[in-house]
Amino acid sequence: MNKAKTFILEIITPLRVKFRGRVKEVYLQAYDGRIGILANHSPLVAIMRPGILEAKSWEGDFSLAVGEGFIKFTNNQATILARYAEAPDEVDVEAAKNKKAELEKEMSVKTLTSEEWGKKYWELQSAITRLKVSEMKEEKTEQNV
């Protein structure tokens, strides 16, 4: 294992420390777009939007649905503090589907202020991400079969 090309990644949520270990690369949804981080990245603080986080390590890759939060990368150590981080098999698909339908209905109303709409938009993204991530599991199991 080439340690020089890896960095320590910590993913912490209010519920638990979701992940702590060495990874090669990580991709996530930052404030205005997706960013990728490799080892020896320059110091960075980025606000995260709800989205899919992909990490690649020597042991294997994994994807998580992560909520709002931020990432701090300093001294080759990344700390992600997010509202939630769910692996494909942890997503509550039913709840996410309901949430999505509900939000889509609410957002079709035209009286919303742009602020309200923005808030709902990210909530909707969060539901969509969860669904997307949960589908990843199914793909994987199909491949396994």
Binding site: P14, L15, D32, S42, L44, V45, I47, F70, L81, R83
Partner: protein, 286 residues
């Protein structure tokens, strides 16, 4: 003697109560393990969050945020966290005593009140306090913390509130709880620590905005931690109350048993006396 039967009945009912208390003690001891685990698991998050906020403020030299603004206090909001269910000893009453003494100290000021838990609500309603909002059957979830904190945050930012306090019971250890009054807003407890190496950090979005967003969510984190701590304190208080109740019942049963034996012995003695007295009378008569 009918006394024997009464004592017997009493013993039975005390045993029943003891069984209930013991069962509740068992439940509480399982719950406290869960509650403590949850508190410990969220600790890395809150600690790290606090640390990062302090570091970032030091490194960017950005030490002001509207949420940290200290204003002359006109409107105060007090959030009181109590339990929904009773049988937890002095848990609620010690919190309410603290609350009442706060109200007495700040008699002239307008204080808005929010209550979590039915016990605190009932107590205050009975004493005719005006309550702005109450939550019943609350669970220590991040959603609830988010709901509470986003509301007070908005009202603080729009200057409808100048100070937000929270009164809750803090678990000093599993068995010891103490009411604690904490200032939620303005944010005052951030220690801005400067790392020796001040790194050139790039921000996305720009520092002021990014820090704003991070601080914005900081309150959620604090409130969540408080909810978890209050939950641990409540369960701990219940565990202690139920342990005491079980022990007391044990003592009571012992004492009642003694009384029972004594009463029975009395009855037997009286009976023997009657029989021997009767026999004596017969012999003398005959």
């Amino acid at each position: 003697m009918s006394d024997i039967r009464t004592i017997k009945r009493k013993i039975k009912s005390v045993i029943n109560i003891q069984q209930i208390c013991r069962a509740m003690k068992m439940v509480a001891s399982v719950r406290i393990r869960n509650a403590e685990r949850r508190m410990m698991q969220s600790k890395p998050f809150t600690d790290r969050y606090r640390q990062v906020v302090g570091e970032l403020m030091a490194q960017t030299g950005e030490v002001y945020h509207p949420l940290m603004e200290v204003r002359p206090v006109k409107n105060t909001l007090l959030i009181i966290i109590t339990s929904d269910k009773g049988l937890c000893g002095s848990y609620n009453s010690s919190i309410m005593a603290e609350a009442v003494s706060y109200f007495k100290e700040h008699a002239g000021e307008p204080v808005l009140i929010k209550v979590l838990g039915a016990k605190g609500l009932n107590y205050l309603v009975r004493r005719h306090y005006k309550i702005e909002e109450s939550f019943k059957n609350w669970e220590p979830t991040f959603e609830l913390a988010h709901k509470i904190s986003s509301e007070i945050r908005e009202r603080f930012l729009s200057k409808k509130l100048d100070r937000v306090l929270c009164l809750y019971s803090h678990p000093d250890s599993t068995m010891v709880q103490k009411p604690r009054l904490m200032t939620l807003l303005p944010l005052v407890d951030i220690d801005v620590q400067c790392n020796a190496k001040c790194l050139q950090i790039s921000f996305e979005p720009p520092p002021r905005e990014a820090l704003g967003l991070i601080l914005h969510n900081y309150l959620d984190v604090i409130v969540y931690q408080i909810l978890l701590e209050a939950n641990v304190a409540e369960t701990g208080a219940r565990l202690r109350a139920m342990t005491n109740a079980t022990d007391n019942a044990e003592e009571l049963i012992d004492e009642l048993h003694l009384q029972y034996y004594r009463a029975r012995q009395d009855a037997i003695t009286t009976e023997i006396l009657e029989v021997s007295g009767g026999a004596e009378a017969l012999r003398q008569g005959g």
